[in-house]
Symmetry: C2
Subunit: 331 residues, 2 copies
DNA sequence: CTGAAAGCGCTTACAG
DNA sequence: CTGAAAGCGCTTACAG
């Protein structure tokens, strides 16, 4: 069954294809009566313009490209949730692209550009920083709007939507310090993500201001690996509180600590910096800085639509607010 | 900076655009010397064919459409992981579409079709069953290949990749029965997903065969809701074991049970039917039927490529194997 | 093996 | 307000 084209509609409505096109794109330029007649035929035939042909003729595909490292990561899929909802609202289609481990971002980008997207969203921060810089320069040469989503390179002048992870971590560390805690560890990852770098900075600032040496323990994001790290860690260190860059790391640590005989929060307080579903499935439930990942996705997509439609943008770097959710792992 | 077109390449290589096109699509039809010359220019100019123009001219977009209810659900994003990896391997681009709560699948489908995808993948089973049937009929009328991914409508003759949830649940229930357990509850959802229907069937079969009345407790997938359900549940029932359709439900139940004074697995055994990351972040770790969600995504994408490229397909309904991972919540 | 030409299904100045 | 025509960047028979 060949699908119906603009010619079919034009024929049935006894107008030229130009008029049908206008009815769809500039209805105000068409005589109301003609317009109604065409609209009726469109509905009868169930006509929908071929997006590919439209894209070629108008040189706008109404499609955005999303570049990410790993879809299955919880934050990525939540970002996607926000992005999809807003994209739907503004009638944008979404193409997704992954950068595999070891693959060159620039290669992926050339594909994205060849796919003729109207704008690009970079998700998260698992992509190597220096390559990202080059990649972004390249896109900007191509004149195609980009927004960075949940990642922040301070030194780059690129539209960005994120939260102030440094401040969040600084504040939560300070709260622990004010309670009189001293042996506060930051549980971070071995691999250096820019977002985690900001968290480390905020933590270090708070500790240093309090005259204390920062205590950072780096491990893997993989539970089956960090488990062993934590078993050693807990044996050898005196720990009063931990703040983890990811909830799953916080929960993994807490489970090991409790199994080793510690009480949470009485002996050790534990805090996560995300507020994912892990936080409400742990026992006790995890206190968290709540980072609005869905919103970051939604806002970044909205920002991108502004650039694509050449609307005026007053703020190109948007920082969303966060808040703290107190649960059972803190006093 | 306007991007380079096939004309630029043709000009620089002193051939016609037809030859450039052939070099890219049917290299064997081009004289080796000419081919090398063109290839060299392509590399120099960094030429990549405009995917949109190519799609229009060839009526193949090398793009697949993925239709889903909710990206942020863990199983969806894992399916996507498998899909993306295989799609990349076969050079397919991916467009994602969501069906919002209350939205008509047919409306979404008309968009998908207008976007000119070469094939469609339906993810999971959150879409209303009767509407799905109509939707699938519609696509098949449009002659566009479809594969169902991690969902199975027995009564529909549509290519499908899934696992045998009924058998898996039957077997795990039987194992508990053989240990002498009788008060074995199935924790399912209030909303009826087809996949869960299969799980219920397998469970009921095992219980009935053992001469026992099936014991099904239905609750919400939302932890903040099912928590209260479980508090009542545990007060009023005698429970020896539970099997949950989702890991998060299993963990949520287990936390309530332990807080109420029960020991797991001594008093109550708990089993999940997914094996997500939740299973290794619970205390104790959750015994699970391990369902290979990534693989389901990968295999379904591979199957779809076969249909799109008109390769011969020997099996249109693929059932992947699963296995059981014993951890701390069973004896 | 190679090129000229038609066509994919639209949009968009340009006339009228 | 409407239509004829050119063009978007490719592919693909058809000749040669």
């Amino acid at each position: 069954m060949a699908s119906t084209t603009i010619y079919d509609v034009a024929g049935a409505a006894k107008v030229s294809l130009a008029t049908v096109s206008r009815v769809m794109n500039n209805p105000e330029k068409v005589n109301p009566e003609t317009r109604e007649r065409v609209l009726k035929v469109i509905k009868e035939l169930g006509y929908r313009p071929n997006a590919i042909a439209k894209g070629l003729a108008s040189r706008k595909t109404t499609t955005v490209g999303i570049v990410m490292a790993d879809v299955s990561r919880a934050s990525t899929s939540q970002l996607l949730g926000g992005i999809m909802d807003i994209a739907k609202k503004y009638n944008y289609a979404i193409k997704i692209f992954s950068v595999a481990e070891g693959e060159d971002i620039k290669d992926v980008l050339r594909i994205v550009v060849a796919e003729q997207v109207d704008g690009i969203l970079f998700l998260n921060d698992e992509l190597e920083s220096d390559k990202m810089h080059m990649a972004i320069n390249q896109i900007q040469d191509d004149q195609i709007p980009v927004v960075l989503c949940n990642v922040n390179y301070d030194e780059l002048d690129v539209p960005t939507v994120t939260i102030d992870y440094e401040k969040a971590t600084y504040e939560i560390t300070k709260q622990l310090l004010e309670e009189g805690k001293k042996d506060i560890y930051l549980l971070s990852t071995v691999r250096k993500y820019t977002v985690n770098t900001h968290k480390v900075k905020g933590y270090e600032k708070a500790m240093t201001e309090a005259g204390l040496e920062p205590l950072i323990f780096r491990t893997s994001g993989d539970v089956s690996i960090n488990k062993y790290h934590f078993e050693e860690f807990i044996k050898n260190k005196h720990i009063e509180a931990t703040i983890a860059v990811r909830d799953s790391i916080a929960v993994s640590f807490m489970n090991i600590a409790i199994n080793a005989g510690y009480k949470v929060p009485e002996d050790i307080e534990v805090i996560g910096l995300q507020n994912t579903k892990y936080a409400v499935l742990s026992r006790p439930n995890l206190t968290c800085v709540d980072t609005p990942v869905y919103d970051i996705g939604a806002v970044s997509m909205r920002l991108l639509t502004k650039y694509m439609q050449q609307e005026e943008v007053t703020e190109s770097k948007i920082v969303l607010p966060y808040n703290v959710v107190k649960r059972g792992t803190t006093k």
